[in-house]
Symmetry: C2
Subunit: 247 residues, 2 copies
Amino acid sequence: MSQKDQQSIKPVAELIPAGCSVCGVRQYGICKALRSADLFRFANSTRRRKVAHGETITFEEDEVVDYANIVSGSVKLTKLLSDGRQQIVGLQFAPEFIGRPFSENVTVSAEAATDVELCVFPKTEFEKMLREQPDFEHQLLEQTLVNLDDARTWMVTLGRKTAQEKVASFLLLLASHIGKSKEENTGHKLFSLPLKRADIADFLGLTIETVSRQMTKLRKTGVISVERNLEITLHDARLLKQLAGDD
Amino acid sequence: MSQKDQQSIKPVAELIPAGCSVCGVRQYGICKALRSADLFRFANSTRRRKVAHGETITFEEDEVVDYANIVSGSVKLTKLLSDGRQQIVGLQFAPEFIGRPFSENVTVSAEAATDVELCVFPKTEFEKMLREQPDFEHQLLEQTLVNLDDARTWMVTLGRKTAQEKVASFLLLLASHIGKSKEENTGHKLFSLPLKRADIADFLGLTIETVSRQMTKLRKTGVISVERNLEITLHDARLLKQLAGDD
DNA sequence: CGCGAAATTGACTATATTCAAAGCTAGTGG
DNA sequence: CCACTAGCTTTGAATATAGTCAATTTCGCG
């Protein structure tokens, strides 16, 4: 809280790099495992990068840069079949980590679904920190386990749910990650879709048309309302959960 | 490195617990990260357990036992919807680890697909070892990352592949994990199905009948032959790969 | 050999896809 | 400010793929 006072009793925990002190995700994700000294060292090699909506998150070749944290925005992870069919295998939001440590051949590509702000760090520095700071690696393990849980949960959606249930599941997923409650609950949530219909289809294993038809059905039954094709108001979370086949 | 050797030349790596010395997976999976002393300590709290084909791998309640390595056999991980629909979200083979560290509410259940032999260890001892031995935790992270890659690869199969491609993908997955080459290559592989038709269907997001029809089609085109519904000979791996939609 | 469980096969149906057309929306420039 | 365009989205009609229901066959095991 106190920033620059002279003879203050400032606790060590507040001695953090200037960049990190204003960072919205500093105390979340993998960074929360870093203490003052390490954070200073690590922060030296990080840099902010803005990626526009729709851009692929490649990392410049010359700089050996391979990992990043999402500071704001949504990132989609996709996989391709040789004939062009696509599947989105993950949606990631702030403050999650992106990248695949300890492996050369990664077969997912990351694309900014919305405008995205990243905190990028070089592979070498990151892996060094992992080696030296067990807490840091532990934090990465925790997140990886959550990602694995999420992936497996989504496999049920892909393999066993109907189109209706898939779309409902998708809306619930968004509501839980980026939904804002308007007034006091009643299950009302508000959020804007980070994905177009084509991407939603690729996430759900459906076609654009089927997604559209299901959205229409949800609108007509009053579960949600839609503004300009992307601002969603969720009116009845309980019903949506039922429609999603959960509970 | 050198532990207690006076003038001996015996390498430390061979000073391992009796149980581990005959263990087929000792130098694989997470165990390979353990050095002699730690292995001795850890081995004290492990025990072998045989689980018959079809049995759920529950861990006795009184004993707080939560994790295991697969020593032999295949384990299926399943998730259920409330109305009974089921999805298999992972197949695991020796020497993989089973369990979900650091979380109380796990929603996948593990069942022995074949007769299985496990090396079981108590939650407390395991988590203590993770804390004290960064190499051990690192090994777990590596495996979790591989599991995540596998899950995401399978999501493409579930979301975007046809029934034909799904069945072909399944056979390829088995061939790569448990297939034995008979003579010198030519792509011939031999393996027995660890799953019945119903489970294959639950793994692929299909019905029993559809799986059966696709298997018949593969038999008739000569890609595979089938003995007693479960012994598979793969004749043409290259063609199967094409049919799987990969390459 | 005979029984029950599992797998296959067939006929029909339903759900989601495909193909095609029309309606929106956001952004541009007159 | 409005008209125009390009890209998405929605809607409709026909089709195809996988699902359902039902009958048979095969397999595993006493």
